[in-house]
Amino acid sequence: MTYTQTQDSSIGRARHHDDEDALRLLESDGTRVAEPTLDPWVSDLSPHELRALHRDMVLTRRLDAEGVALQRQGQLALWAPCRGQEATQVGTAHALAPGDFVFPSYREHGVLLGRGAQPADYVLAWRGEEHSAYDHTTINAAPPQIIIGAQSLHATGWAMGAQRDGSTDVAVAYYGDGATSQGDVNEAMVFASSFRAPVVFVCSNNQWAISEPVTVQSEFPLAGRAPGFGIPSLRIDGNDALACVAAMRWALDRARRGEGPSFIEAVTYRMGPHTTSDDPTRYREPGEVEAWAERDPIARLEAYLRAEGMLDDGGLAEVARAADALAAEVRAACIGATTRAPETIFDHVYAEPHAGLAQQKADYAQYLAGFEVSR
């Protein structure tokens, strides 16, 4: 097993909600540190790739801010903010190949960005126009999952299919720390392990499942569970983009070489509420949020890139302009959305004709037509 955390369970229990023992390549101030497990996986990252990583994290944060703003302005019914988790999402997504397939939760805006989602893809579901706006075949991403952890099984099944096809495609399941308590996630690990399925489980341990701290989900580090299923794991600093790229490359490489599933616990922090309906001031202390703000993933990578001479004020301004442009496109897609005709609610329930539903659709169309006549 690659899981290298302390075997002293008392230490693990006391500190597992923190990131101090998580593997990292960048300190909070951007200082590059050596880490033998992760180092080899990022040694070839070019300045261009590093800047792209930074750019996508900035874009994700701007997109997220726009989502919150659109909700506050009444344009979206709900939004699930991802501020603080940009490195985990963007870093892991950057490591993927086009043929890989992700199974995201509802918070994975940065992952979708990495898969090439279009502006409308981010907002139409939250606006209530579509359940899943994007074409899963275009961006190789399943519809965002609301039922906690259900997608871990879909990813495992998809991986079993890829394995049968003899391809090197890998499935990735994204979920939070709360999901690790779900039966589906545990059953997914059983199936993945038993069939050596090429799947990567990315657990974004953002410390909170709505109001429940991660200590309610587990007394022991989440990464410590996977080896019990026969799945190697890494516990990494989820606010360190380089560590996220490295861990994901490690896991993808294992999967492509037929070594089966891997588990990554990315220790990060959800800076905002669970959703725009949530009030985190009821359950967490301001000091905790401030402490995590000092470990900000974007500031960290930015400091590193500046120190290395790979990013300057001009570059930053350019990234900021790109972020504003994306936000404007997302806003336009949101506000410009048109609601479909009422009878479309009956469409696509079945792939083939269903007599009962066809009758209901016809009855309802007739009912609606009555209003047209009376006008």
């Binding site: 359940h131 899943s132 099984l153 998809w158 059953e187 199936f191 696509h348 329930v349 269903h354 007599a355």
Partner: protein, 348 residues
């Protein structure tokens, strides 16, 4: 034509499906070397290999959830839930994922998944082995729900279910697994009646019995017994529980003017309630008597020594037939009424 048990007919249907499409694969607990606890998949792993007939970990949500992923990858999984009462751990995956992915994705994602469930009671089984959960699935949009009542239908409908691009809950009446019938193994599937159509299992003129699954046989026995008393009963075998073939049902009820619906699932909000409501809406002016339901009671499935009091039998069906025919109604008192037969609008 070949005489086959219902179990063997399903095995033959699975074999055909595996043979004709290499994207079809079977998944379930004990379905490989053992051939399933009812031996329905007997010999299939030996013939098609462990990659096509997959022995899975013992986890129902895992079986169905991974099948969802396989379907997303282009496969057509046929999963076996070992017993009806074991489907509940997979309930979320079935009703939230399998049923809804086509809708959620605006029709982009197909879920050509078959979930086979050995189903219902009458075999003296242990707790959780005799349940009738069909109403849960019929109530869920996005699922097709079918129930075979004889080997020929089992053979054909199984293949039709596999070929469907919609997810199908395929109920197999376990007390008929060993009952034999003629099966045309060479039948052209394109000529077979589609699985969404009901079947007139027996023609009659005095009253219609609407039923499905193992109760078809009980209803046919009742019709045979009624014939001795000069009563002609028509028996409609639904085959498809969702969608319901209301055209066939309504045509029969309009002909006879009287209807008894029977199933062994519990009564409250069961399929019988839906059938009676739809029949009343569509055939009200043809009805000579209020439709009646003969069902299991609103209880958990009882211990096997008492199950004969739960599963509607020939006598309970005939009692309801008497009621809809107004025969001997005065002689039937509330105290003498077998439980489960509703005789007035009051207390059940």
């Amino acid at each position: 034509m070949t005489a086959l048990t219902l179990g063997a007919a399903i095995n033959a249907g699975l074999s055909e499906a595996l043979e004709s499409d290499d994207k079809v694969l079977l998944m379930g607990e004990d379905i490989g070397k053992l051939g399933g606890v009812f031996r329905v998949t007997d010999g299939l792993q030996k013939r098609f290999g462990a990659q096509r007939v997959v022995d899975t970990p013992l986890a129902e949500a895992g079986i169905v959830g991974t099948a969802v992923g396989l379907a997303l990858r282009g496969y057509r999984p046929v999963v076996e839930i070992q017993f009806d009462g074991f489907v509940y751990p997979a309930f979320d995956q079935i009703v939230c994922q399998v049923a809804k992915l086509h809708y959620r994705s605006n029709g982009r994602i197909r879920m050509p998944l078959v979930i086979r469930i050995p189903w219902a009671g009458g075999v003296g089984a242990a707790e959780h082995h005799s349940e009738s959960p069909e109403a849960y699935f019929v109530h869920t949009a996005g699922l097709r729900v079918v129930a075979a009542s004889n080997p020929q239908d089992a053979y054909v409908m199984l293949q039709q279910a596999v070929a469907s691009d919609d997810p199908v809950i395929f109920f197999e009446p376990k007390r008929l697994y060993h009952s034999k019938g003629e099966v045309d193994l060479d039948a052209d599937l394109s000529d077979a009646p589609p699985m969404h159509l009901a079947r007139i299992a027996r023609e009659g003129t005095d009253a219609t019995i609407v039923t499905y699954g193992a109760q078809v046989r009980t209803a046919l026995d009742a019709a045979l017994a009624a014939e001795d008393e000069g009563i002609s009963l028509e028996v409609v075998d639904l085959r498809s529980l969702s969608p319901l073939d209301l055209n066939t049902i309504a045509a029969s009820v309009r002909k006879t003017g009287r209807v008894v619906v029977t199933h062994e699932a519990a009564r409250e909000a069961g399929l019988g309630a839906e059938l009676v409501a739809s029949i009343t809406e569509q055939c009200f002016e043809y009805l000579e008597a209020p439709p009646m339901r003969v069902t299991g009671h609103d209880i958990p499935y009882p211990p096997s020594k008492l199950e004969k009091h739960h599963v509607p039998d020939l006598d309970r069906i005939l009692h309801a037939v008497d009621r809809v025919l107004d025969r001997g109604a005065g002689a039937v008192t509330a105290a003498a009424t077998p439980a489960g037969v509703r005789i007035d609008g009051g207390v059940r």
